[in-house]
Each structure stands twice: as structure tokens, then as C-alpha cells.
């Protein structure tokens, strides 16, 4: 059971009021999507949940206890960028967290325990579709694969709460759809609460069981910083009754996407262009 309670949360940077009096209850196993325009304070909200920032006033309780003032393993995070360690292979990235706990000085397990951890990490990487890339460095992975790796790295710690800060914002649309399927699947299988920040409304409705819209309740054109953001919309969605996710193509299946778009182009296709060019042999 993980229940997050946010009470009268306010965040101010100097004169600028970012969040004003935000209160919300998130019951166990919620997939909460925080929507809002740029600068509305949704990332600030996430950073407070992460303990990367401290609220000016108000409090956040997880299962009745106030948040630890520092980031802790009970809350995992995936950022839009820089979520994995560039100097570790995929497998090393996933094995990193559990080794930290087990070996405070060296951060490295040996022997049978290491083998067991390696197996668990490899299985988890298989779950997120990276079974073939265990020994690749992040620089050798595509953007979508790096985010899959970041998710696996976080999940091995079995966090109560998974925080996602625009995790799919930098991905192309087909990769993004594949990631939606993956994250919903992982959320359903692990009993954790997800809080995700995005500015993509469609994404919010596809993924969320709870959608919070964060925006300024009042505006003063002469003092735009005087009013902070609050929750202007708060809706629940029953995941069982949602329309099925749009049938998605595999991340790398360019040919299928191309064929579908060509069919959709219909009459716009110029005749003759489709015919394959006559095979040419390289001279000499």
C-alpha cells in the first residue's frame, strides 16, 4: 500500500510564486499524470515529490510519514535526459542500485550473490526489451532504449513511487507508443504508484488513471508572478473501461509504418513513382 497525501503545498522562488496551496490525495496504485503548460510548475511539483526541492510551506506524506528531505530509493525517477550512467553498460546500470545497498564501501558484489543479481538484472532488461543489449553502453543505444534502460534501473529497486519527468518527450512518435505500452504493462504488474509529468494531453489520457491539470487559477497581467499554480482539473479514469491502446508498431518496424502511410496517401501518390528502378549492376 502506498498512499501519497499532498497538503497545502506552496513553492516560491524569491518573488515568483510557482505552486500555491496544492492539495491532492493519491491512493495506492494510481497512475497519476500531471498536465500543464510550460512554466506552470509541474516539474517543480515532481521535484518536491523527489526531495530534489523543498516546499516553501505545506507537506507531502507517503503512507502517513513526511517525505525524507533527501532523494531515497523509495521513490525512483526517470528524467527526460541523463537518466542512465554513461560509463556503465546496460547491465552495470541495472545492477548498480542493489550493489550500493549490499556493499557500502566498494559498491560491488562478488561470487554467487553477484551472479544472482546479474540474472535478475538480465531478466529485467529482457522484460523491457533490452535482452540483446546487455553489454552495450548508453551511447550505443537509441533514445527509446536508453529510457527503457532507465526504467529497468529504477524498477530493480522496487520503489513505492515511480516518478517520470517527461520521460518520452524526446522520443519519436512510434517509439513513444511502444513506451506507453511498456510503462502501462510494468505499472500493472508492479504494485507501485506512478506520478508522471507531461505536456502531451493525448498521452495523459492514454496512460493515466488520474489526471491533474496544473495551471494558474488567476492571472494579473501587471504582476504575472503574483499568482501561483494550483490544480484546475482533477479527473479519474477507470483503466478497465478505457478504449484499447492504439495498435502500435514495433519500435524498429519502419517498413510497416511506411506501408501504412503510403496506403493512406491514396490518390496523392503519383503513378509510376512506385515502380522499382531497374536493377543496375555496378560496372567493373
Amino acid at each position: 500500500m502506498t498512499e501519497i497525501v499532498v497538503r497545502n503545498l506552496t513553492k516560491r522562488y524569491g518573488d515568483a510564486l510557482i505552486l500555491e496551496n496544492v492539495s491532492v490525495d493519491l491512493p495506492d496504485h494510481e497512475f497519476c499524470v500531471v498536465l500543464g503548460p510550460s512554466g506552470a510548475g509541474k516539474t517543480t511539483f515532481l521535484r518536491i515529490l523527489l526531495s530534489q526541492e523543498r516546499p516553501t510551506s505545506g507537506e507531502v506524506l507517503i503512507d502517513g510519514a513526511p517525505l525524507d528531505p533527501e532523494p531515497q530509493p523509495d521513490r525512483g525517477v526517470v528524467f527526460q535526459r541523463y537518466s542512465v550512467f554513461p560509463h556503465m553498460t546496460a547491465l552495470q546500470n541495472v545492477m548498480f542500485g542493489p550493489q550500493l545497498r549490499a556493499a557500502p564501501v566498494t559498491g560491488r558484489l562478488w561470487g554467487a550473490r553477484r551472479r544472482a543479481l546479474r540474472e535478475r538484472a538480465a531478466a529485467l532488461l529482457g522484460d523491457v526489451g533490452l535482452g540483446h543489449a546487455l553489454d552495450k553502453y548508453p551511447a550505443q543505444l537509441s533514445g527509446g532504449m536508453q529510457q527503457r534502460l532507465a526504467i529497468a534501473q529504477t524498477l530493480i529497486m522496487e520503489p513505492k513511487v515511480l516518478l517520470l519527468d517527461e520521460p518520452f518527450g524526446a522520443l519519436d512518435p512510434s517509439t513513444r507508443k511502444a513506451m506507453h505500452r511498456l510503462i502501462v504493462d510494468l505499472w500493472a504488474r508492479n504494485r507501485m504508484t506512478v506520478v508522471m509529468v507531461t505536456h502531451d494531453i493525448e498521452e495523459a489520457f492514454i496512460l493515466g488513471t488520474r489526471i491533474l491539470m496544473v495551471d494558474k487559477r488567476r492571472r494579473d497581467p501587471h504582476a504575472p508572478q503574483a499568482w501561483g499554480s494550483g490544480i484546475v482539473e482533477d479527473i479519474r479514469l477507470d483503466p478497465a473501461k478505457k478504449p484499447p491502446m492504439p495498435e502500435e508498431e514495433r519500435e524498429e518496424d519502419m517498413a510497416a509504418i511506411f506501408a501504412r502511410h503510403r496506403a493512406r496517401a491514396g490518390a496523392a501518390l503519383v503513378a509510376g513513382a512506385e515502380a522499382p528502378p531497374a536493377p543496375r549492376r555496378a560496372a567493373g
Binding site: P73, F79, V84, P86, M88, L100
Partner: protein, 274 residues
């Protein structure tokens, strides 16, 4: 007509182009030396290549009658030992001070301005102090190298630490990392390539300080020898020594680059070199 930026030499042409200036310098020296020796066979400023060969033979392959040593090799051993100790201590200081000073806000406040001030003191101005404090032995020479190189390394690595994306540090904490674990397992490995780069850039300064210290007070070493034979205008010894020092510096640079690629393969992959 292609634009000049779009001309890319192939491998063979590239190698030829790289060797061209060296060949040109050698030929120019040869011609100038010939001309001077033709005018005055006793000229000492531009010895012939034959004179170089004799000097090399005498210094590198003939036992010294007084000490029983081969001078070039014993000089080289003495100088390389000083450099190894000087750079070793500098790197150690850089890891032990630079990484924490870049990573921990309190230490960076405490040490940042001080190290910045240290790095601005001209090391050669401190040389007399070092001789007074440490005497004329090995310690003063090694101390000069450390004084000249370590503050730069520390500042550079501390800066590199501060450029690590904040997200990675937060992420490490959500995986349960302690300060020590972040420093040793996240921060240090990520700045290691930068440490190698700045070490390579310091090689020129290292040799400068070594030769300065050896020139002033020493009983051996490559710099000592050059300044000793200067009294006899022995260009036939000085020039091969300079070439030898250059070669040693080049090999050290090359070795460090290779070691860096080996120890931080991920960085080479990022840069598309492996």
C-alpha cells in the same frame, strides 16, 4: 572547383602531408649547416649530422670514463624519475582534493578560491623558496613540478565534476548511493577521461619546470646536461638532447591517450573513436 574545406586527404596523402614539415626542417638545417661549415669548418652553431652521430655515440653508447655510466641513459632515468614522482603526486592530489572539491559544496567553497589563487602564482617565482625550504636535493625539483601542475589539474577536474548533469546525481541518490559511493562510482569514473586530457595538456609545463629546476641546481638529468654543455657551445650535444626530450614527451602524450581510451572505453565510444 571544390571549396577548400571539402578537400579531405586520404590516408597516404595525410601521412605524406604530416611528414612534409619535418622533412622540410631537416633539409633546411642540412643546407644551412653545409653552407656555414663550408665558410668556416670550425663553426659550432650548426654542426653536421656526422657531428651529431659522434655526439650520440659518445653520450648514449660509450661508458663515461669518470663515472662508468652511459650519460644519456642515466640523465634520462634521473629526469623521468622526477617527472614520474611529480606527476604521480599531482594526480593523486587531484583525485583526493579535486574530486571532493568539485562535488561537495562545502569543500568547493572552502578550497575553490584558495586553489585558484595557488594556480595563479608563477611556479618559477616560487623556485627559490622551494630551494631554500627543501634544499637542493630531489625534493625541491619534484615540488616545483607538483606546484606547477597540481593546482591546474585540481581546478580542471573540479570544474569537470561540476559539469556532470544534476540529474545523474539525483538518480544515484534514488538508487541509494551514499556520498562516498557517488564520488567513487559515479563522479570519479566520469571525470577520468578529463583528468587524462588535462594531464596531457600539462606535459609541456611539466617538462618546462623539470628543466628549469635541473638547470639551476642539479647533478644530473636531461636539463642539467643541456645547460652544462652550453658552456662549450656544444650544439652537437644540445640538439640531440632536445630532440630526445621531444620524443619522450611525445611518447608520454601518446601513452596517456591510449591509456585513457582503454580505461574509459565508454568515452571513446561516445566520441565515435571505438
Amino acid at each position: 572547383m571544390k571549396r577548400a574545406v571539402n578537400y579531405r586527404p586520404d590516408r597516404a596523402t595525410g601521412a605524406f602531408l604530416a611528414l612534409l614539415p619535418f622533412a622540410f626542417a631537416l633539409v633546411a638545417y642540412f643546407l644551412a649547416s653545409e653552407a656555414r661549415l663550408a665558410a668556416n669548418p670550425a663553426d659550432r652553431l650548426m654542426p653536421s649530422f656526422g657531428a651529431f652521430a659522434d655526439a650520440i655515440e659518445q653520450f648514449a653508447f660509450t661508458e663515461n670514463r669518470r663515472t662508468g655510466e652511459y650519460l644519456l641513459w642515466s640523465d634520462t632515468a634521473i629526469s623521468l624519475r622526477r617527472i614520474a614522482i611529480g606527476l604521480g603526486v599531482s594526480v593523486l592530489l587531484c583525485i583526493v582534493v579535486g574530486v571532493p572539491a568539485g562535488f561537495l559544496p562545502v569543500l568547493s567553497r572552502l578550497l575553490g578560491p584558495f586553489v585558484a589563487a595557488l594556480s595563479l602564482i608563477p611556479p618559477l617565482a616560487v623556485l627559490p623558496i622551494l630551494f631554500i625550504v627543501f634544499g637542493l636535493g630531489e625534493l625541491a625539483k619534484v615540488a616545483l613540478i607538483v606546484f606547477g601542475v597540481a593546482p591546474f589539474l585540481i581546478r580542471d577536474v573540479a570544474l569537470a565534476v561540476q559539469q556532470i548533469p544534476r540529474e545523474l546525481i539525483v538518480k544515484a541518490q534514488t538508487l541509494g548511493a551514499s556520498t562516498w559511493q557517488m564520488m567513487t562510482l559515479v563522479v570519479f569514473p566520469q571525470v577520468l577521461p578529463r583528468l587524462f586530457d588535462s594531464l596531457r595538456l600539462s606535459l609541456g609545463a611539466t617538462w618546462l619546470f623539470l628543466i628549469a629546476a635541473e638547470a639551476i641546481a642539479s647533478e644530473g638529468g636531461l636539463g642539467y646536461r643541456i645547460f652544462l654543455v652550453r658552456r662549450f657551445l656544444a650544439m652537437d650535444v644540445i640538439l640531440p638532447y632536445v630532440a630526445w626530450i621531444t620524443l619522450l614527451a611525445f611518447l608520454m602524450d601518446w601513452g596517456l591517450a591510449r591509456l585513457s581510451r582503454r580505461l574509459a572505453r565508454w568515452r571513446a565510444i561516445e566520441k565515435g573513436e571505438a
